[in-house]
Symmetry: C2
Subunit: 151 residues, 2 copies
């Protein structure tokens, strides 16, 4: 009796597994800064990008955190209103609006970073340092391959 040539078990299907894992991790992390600091995922990512590489324009932020410019624009609007980031006028090109963390934003950033790193550390806890490197490396390759396959 001919068995089906191909079967798809969601549980073992890589794209599905990646999706579920990423979602679970993302939600856990979200709990760290959503409640206490009132940030959305995108807002936090914008702050993280600026924390490391300010000043950046909205476009540069978008490229860095892989978000379209509308999403970035909205996150930036929210952060500006709360005074967590500031615009630095660019005299040579007034279309550009470079951004950086405000003093208040730096303080918040400084509080969240240790929480985020601690969460990452706990997540990695079951893995040896070789295994961590291995996972990172393999994830990199998958990412490169996925980009390659993107039509």
């Amino acid at each position: 009796m001919p068995k089906p040539l191909q079967a798809l078990e969601l549980e073992n299907f890589l794209p599905y597994r990646l999706s579920v894992l990423a979602q679970l991790v993302s939600e856990s992390l979200h709990d760290l800064y959503a409640g206490p600091f009132g940030l959305t995922v995108t807002q936090w990512r914008v702050m993280a990008a600026l924390g490391g590489f300010a000043p950046l324009t909205a476009s540069e932020v978008g490229a860095r955190i892989v978000m379209d410019k509308v999403a970035v624009s909205r996150a930036v609007a929210g952060l500006l209103k709360r005074g967590l980031i500031e615009r630095v006028p660019d005299a040579t090109d007034r279309r550009r609006a470079p951004l950086e963390l405000s003093a208040q934003g730096r303080t918040m950033h400084g509080r969240i970073v240790p929480l985020a790193l601690a969460y990452e550390e706990r997540l990695y806890e079951g893995l040896t340092s070789e295994q961590r490197k291995m996972f990172d490396d393999l994830a990199d390759r998958l990412f490169a391959q996925a980009k390659q396959l993107r039509v």
Copy 2:
């Protein structure tokens, strides 16, 4: 001069990396069945779950594909309207509404599965089979750990 004790580089931050990788893969896969078959991600996952384990109630589907019942309910409504799935009345408990693929749904499922598996295969292409197993195993551990950490 005291350097900051902790720094967070988004590019090397595991939750962020997982999120970006999963999103890229998910979008690529989405292209395979959204255009040609007009399915949303959730709809496809519902069909995939039913393809392997029907009959399942909406709740059971939700547990399997890690989706809340509202999302499942909406996906199911869309699939029912298109005649891709059917309800099997449950005489012993009329609250429950077990679902299964219709003939038409099975046909579509049978067309999508090979496409999905082929994509997965191409994604894995740069990895040896040991590396695949390794990645899967490490991802499993991370997932278990993430569940553990979930408050």
